[in-house]
């Protein structure tokens, strides 16, 4: 049995091998070798179609991080089969196409590595049952897409496009990840199948709604839904095979896959219905509306893809309503939207793949994609023209092409949904058919633009760098195969319906009994009904609009460039950057004093604040030891000496005052019965003073502090605050009902450690380890000082590094 896990890993392995093979295989284009991968996988998958069609699913687990419930579990069912076939099928064709598109001068080893990486990742996304693993592959698609978009990374636009795509899709992915984690929190599992089975118990959970929104964010960003669509046009900087593969047929459909996959989880919910369908509709409209004004063929296709993805998305939204109503004879009608979605998904992949390849051919052969420089190609590029017509008309929703069938089903679904009596659709439902219809008109218009402005009308060879000529045969094979599907599906739709769509309907509606019920027969002709009227309307109005394009095009001027989402994205990035710079440099002043003030203020606020807020402060002087006169005088001496340090005019005075403090502390150590301390303090203080004097030789006399009085006042307040807080906590600690200290134990020092000096016994024995490390500290300091003095920057060294 062929393991799906292997199917996922296989491209990764080959991807890793490609750079090595590339070095070995000089005589033949490496693409031929690479192409074997998707073809093999496609054949392996295709052989499973009959079993899947009969309702069988394949499930396989490979332990990865079992202790965290993260396992490489794959699940092959109808839904994943569709995507698996698309990924491998379109993948094979795209690689074939790319063999002729990319010259051997390009760094092919990178290209095909990335492409295989992407393929594996994409297969991983659609076959993974474990959400974490799904996410792993999800992000890998973003990463590989990033690499592919930035393939010509010496171009600034490529890099920017790659960054935009990566940021938006990864951000969505991160949101989705949070959603997945929340699902795990609710259901206790990462397995989609198990979640589908148990989710009904959690629909009232507080996390249910946030989870749904987060998962949708992932889907919407990936599938370029409004307003996240902005990355897709910029992603057209990628080589055209990449656009044909990732940005029309596969990666952008990952979001569709996710929504379809999660329909059984969230499908019955009102928020799900409205957000998926409305966002889809908006995307569809906005995409088609904007496609019309694109002078760049590839950009036109990008917006068209956005629009078509919106269409599919909205259909999935509409279809989810069936889950709210529940399985009944009435609700089956609503599942047809989902059916249409899956159907159009396939259709779109076929015609859009072909169209991208057409643009690739034009670009490759003529060196431009700008419709203002093109026209009249049909005579010299007849095959290309044919492909363009087939693809374009299918996209426009005309017979005899597959796009017509799914477009009609789409209209039907919108009309039906406006009659549903849940979710206030009685009132608002009517917007669906209206928006669908308007969007389709624009779709029709840009399809005409695509075909007519490129291939018909007068040729403008003077605007081209190269003579007009037909593409090599190799480049035409792939789009022609896709066109064959475009036409073939129109004539034999039920074959697709039965073997491919029906099992996937079972995946979306697992609770809906026999999937056969959910699978309608698809007819090209279904009488004069609402959808056909709508289609006719689209053609008539569309043709009119195309004719009058020059007159109404200024309408686009109303949509100021300033307020596009693209500008929003750009200004968000740049203002984040600017704002961050201002804020960061605002507090990271480089002044030590400022940093210290932050730290002190934080100390005062948290420690002092909490001390009072919690009522922990207490003071009790009754248990104090007595005070002698001389002690009081010495305390006074220390206080005065300390304060005098602040006003000392010369550094040496201050140093001497510090010495006075040190000596006075020594005498307090005497008063407090700490002979060892007194000795140490005395020596250390003297040596320290000597060090100060030594260093003063190298340092200038200090000047008056010239800080502003405001700074000084702040410093004073902070200082007093710190002093007071330290003092108050000390009072409270002193008044705390103490535990017996562990020190009593050390009073047996003589028996235990053979020393009568307890302090020394502690230092040498009980806590000898501290002493040992303390010596190390001292040693490091000594050695470090030596190093600091002896090792100086070489004069000629720049101040940058090493």
């Amino acid at each position: 049995m062929f393991s799906v896990n292997f199917a996922i890993i296989f491209p990764f392995i080959i991807a890793a091998l490609v750079p090595f093979l590339y070095r070995r295989i000089k005589f033949v284009h490496i693409g031929w070798f690479v192409m074997l991968v998707p073809i093999t996988l496609f054949i392996l998958l295709a052989r499973l179609i009959p079993s899947v069609a009969s309702g069988k699913t394949f499930f396989h687990t490979y332990n990865w991080i079992p202790s965290l419930d993260i396992n490489f579990t794959t699940y092959l069912d109808g839904l994943s089969m569709i995507f698996g076939l698309l990924i491998t099928g379109v993948g094979s064709l795209v690689i074939l196409y790319s063999i002729f598109y990319l010259s051997t001068k390009e760094s092919l080893q990178h290209f095909y590595s990335y492409l295989l990486l992407f393929m594996g990742a994409m297969l991983g996304v659609v076959f993974s049952d474990n959400l974490m693993v799904l996410y792993v592959f999800w992000e890998l698609t973003s990463v590989s897409s990033f690499l592919l978009i930035a393939f010509w990374n010496h171009r600034k636009a490529s890099r920017q496009g790659a960054q935009k795509a990566m940021l938006i899709t990864v951000s969505g992915g991160v949101a989705m990840l949070v959603g997945f984690i929340m699902l795990h929190t609710m259901t206790g599992t990462f397995s989609v199948r198990e979640i589908v089975l148990s989710i009904r118990d959690f629909t009232d959970h507080t996390l249910f709604l946030p989870t749904m929104i987060l998962v949708l964010l992932g889907a919407f960003t990936k599938s370029a839904q409004f307003p996240f669509h902005i990355w897709l046009p910029d992603a057209m900087e990628a080589p055209t095979p990449v656009s044909a593969y990732l940005h029309s047929a596969t990666m952008v459909k990952a979001g569709i896959y996710l929504v379809a996959r999660f329909t059984p989880v969230f499908g019955g919910d009102q928020v799900w219905f409205w957000s998926v369908s409305v966002i889809g509709m908006m995307t569809m409209f906005w995409g088609s509306f904007n496609a019309v004004r694109q002078p760049d063929l590839k950009a036109l296709l990008a917006y068209s893809t956005i629009s078509q993805l919106g269409l599919i998305m909205s259909l999935l939204g509409l279809g989810s309503i069936a889950l709210n109503i529940g399985y009944s004879a009435d609700s089956i009608i609503y599942t047809q939207a989902t059916f249409a979605a899956l159907f159009h998904l396939i259709n779109h992949s076929t015609f859009k793949g072909a169209l991208f390849m057409v643009v690739g051919i034009v670009d490759h052969e003529l060196g431009t994609r700008d419709i203002r420089r093109l026209g009249g190609l049909f005579t010299l590029m007849p095959f290309t023209f044919t492909i363009a017509v087939i693809g374009g008309l299918s996209m426009a929703g005309l017979p005899p092409f597959n796009g017509f069938l799914s477009k009609e089903m789409f209209f039907a679904a919108t009309v039906q949904i406006s009659n549903a009596d849940v979710f206030s659709l009685q009132t608002f439902g009517v917007i669906f058919p209206i928006v669908a219809w308007i969007a389709s008109i624009f779709t029709f218009v840009y399809c005409l633009i695509f075909i007519i402005k490129t291939f018909l009308g007068p040729a403008q060879p003077e605007k081209l760098d190269k003579p007009i000529h037909e593409a090599p045969v190799g480049m035409l094979i792939s789009p022609l195969i896709l066109c064959a599907f475009v036409v073939g599906i129109f004539f034999f739709p039920d074959l697709l319906g039965k073997y491919i769509l029906q099992p996937s309907m079972a995946s979306v509606y697992p609770t809906f009994g026999d999937p056969k019920e959910l699978t309608p027969s698809i007819y090209a002709w279904h009488g004069f009904n609402a959808e056909l009227m709508m289609t006719i309307g689209v053609i008539v109005i569309g043709a009119l609009l195309y004719n009058q394009l020059k007159k109404w095009k200024p309408v686009y001027g109303l949509f100021s460039q300033k307020y596009t989402f693209n500008m929003l994205y750009n200004s968000m990035l740049s203002s984040t950057e600017k704002g961050s710079t201002i804020v960061t440099k605002g507090y990271m002043t480089g002044f030590l004093r400022d940093y210290l003030v932050y730290i002190f203020v934080f100390f005062i606020v948290t420690v002092g604040g909490f001390l009072f807020y919690s009522g922990a402060f207490s003071i009790d002087i009754s248990t104090d030891a007595s005070i002698r006169v001389y002690e009081a005088i010495l305390v006074g001496v220390m206080a005065v000496a300390a304060v005098a340090m602040l006003f000392a005019k010369s550094r040496i005075t201050a140093t001497l005052l510090n010495g006075v403090l040190g000596y006075s502390i020594a005498i307090f150590f005497v008063i407090f019965r700490a002979p060892d301390l007194a000795l140490t303090q005395l020596v250390v203080e003297s040596v320290t003073t000597a060090l100060f004097l030594l260093c003063f030789y190298f340092l200038p006399e200090w000047k008056r502090e010239t800080s502003s009085s405001k700074t000084k006042l702040t410093n004073a307040i902070v200082s007093i605050g710190v002093g007071v807080v330290v003092m108050l906590v000390a009072f409270s600690v002193l008044n705390y009902e103490k535990f017996e200290t562990i020190s009593r134990y050390f009073e047996n020092a003589y028996e235990l450690a053979g020393g009568a000096n307890i302090v020394n016994a502690i230092l040498g024995d009980f806590r000898g380890f501290d002493t040992m490390l303390e010596v190390v500290v001292l040693f490091i300091a000594g050695l470090g000082i030596f190093t600091m003095i002896k090792l100086r920057a070489k004069k000629e060294d720049a101040d940058i590094e090493n």
Binding site: L677, G723, L778
Partner: protein, 112 residues
């Protein structure tokens, strides 16, 4: 006595804080020195003052004053000596190479 010493600790701390906020590096270093004085007294005070005799077993009789804080302070004194020595040398090395002992002048060039 404890109260008095704690007030002294408060004063020393405040003075040290003010010093460490200065622009002149020597004042800052002196601030760190005063900080150590304050905390050494604090450790001793927190262990209790004059609560027993000198912690020498043959010298005096129990109860002994708490010896553990004394050992801790001893360690702390030596460490703060090491650190003070280091930063002093650092200060003059910085002055030699950067030509200033004013921390305002040692702000550093941020990029852009």
């Amino acid at each position: 006595m404890e109260t008095l010493i704690i007030i002294l600790i408060g004063i020393l701390t405040a003075v040290a804080t003010y010093l460490i906020l200065s622009r002149n590096i020597i004042r800052v270093i002196l601030g760190t020195a005063v900080f150590s004085h304050a905390v050494h007294l604090l450790i001793l005070t927190m262990g209790g003052l004059k609560k027993g005799s000198v912690p020498l077993l043959k010298e005096a009789d129990a109860p002994y004053t708490d010896a553990l804080p004394q050992a801790l302070i001893l360690t702390a004194i030596v460490i703060s000596f090491a650190v003070t020595a280091f930063i002093l040398v650092l200060a003059y090395r910085a002055y030699q190479d950067l030509g200033s002992d004013d921390l305002h002048a040692l702000r550093g060039t941020n990029d852009e």
